[in-house]
């Protein structure tokens, strides 16, 4: 993606999040989420929000998924809302974005892998939890309850 497209994407992101400027996610030293992206025809970012018991969200910042693998530290034991947002631009459709929300409550000691794909205008986000003892992975139900 060209620099101008990248600028448009970040401006769109800033507008979508209601902020005048893009706020980068502060991140945590212990990386418990690995985002593995395979993107063709779109650029993606990950917005991190806290989600309280009243279903109110608080925007904490954005992580650019500009590499095939990006490690992120999420708070353990707290409900977070991950918003994967795909940006693309073409002469026909102009600049567009589409997003996928995933709710997660990371457990202590567990690792999480998000597989993010965008190809031929089809996108998918799959979030798995990996048991530290057995190494077994299970797909998470990431639907937002409210």
């Amino acid at each position: 993606m060209s620099r101008s497209h990248e600028t448009v994407a970040w401006l769109l992101l800033a507008a979508a999040t209601g902020c005048g400027s893009t706020k980068h996610y502060a991140d945590l030293p212990e990386k418990n989420l690995q985002v593995r992206s395979t993107l063709s025809g779109a650029r993606a970012v990950l917005g991190v929000h806290s989600l309280n018991s009243n279903c109110a969200t608080d925007y904490e910042g954005v992580v650019s998924l500009d590499r095939a693998t990006v490690d992120v530290g999420l708070p353990v034991g707290r409900q977070s809302l991950l918003v994967f947002e795909f940006y693309s631009s073409s002469l026909l459709t102009g600049s567009t974005s589409t997003k996928h929300e995933a709710r997660i409550v990371p457990r202590r000691g567990y690792r999480y892998v998000a597989r993010v794909t965008y190809k031929d205008a089809l996108y998918d986000v799959e979030l798995r939890e990996i048991d530290p003892r057995s190494g077994a992975a299970r797909e998470l139900d990431t639907r937002r309850r409210c």
């Binding site: 779109a42 026909l92 459709t93 974005s97 589409t98 190809k119 205008a121 089809l122 996108y123 998918d124």
Partner: protein, 168 residues
Amino acid sequence: MKAIAIIAALLLAGCATQQPQNAEEFRKVAPGAFLMGSETLEVNRPLRDVAAAWQRRAPECLNASVRTTSQTSTSYQVIVTTYKSTVVVGKDRAELHVQREFKGGGVITVGNPPSGGPYIIVADAYPLPSNRTRVQMIAPTKGQDVVIRAIKSWASGENLGCPDLTKQ
């Protein structure tokens, strides 16, 4: 492309004395309408797998809204396009219906659309011998390529991704 689809929807809506109010009426009216077509394909999966894929993916991917903004030096327009999907699974047939509704400045509702908006796609899956399935789809010939591709991919199991509805 979107303009063509809108025109097709308007023609379908306007030319019929009564807009299809359900999937069965859409099956009867749509194939002969301007810019509408029907397509049949066979997939190497049993009906239950096709039905399961539609049941899993359609609510997640096709119950969604797209907000489109366009701005010139003299105007600013926002249109919200809302998609609604319905999956009906029976013993001998699985159905996937897609409706679409436009709302916003400058949008004129023609005729008497059903709740959820006019039907734009109806896909039916029927069992075939040897664990195969035939999928019959009635859809616009232009403007819904990504949704159509997603429905086919879910049926075949090739790709379970959601369609980027901003690409319509």
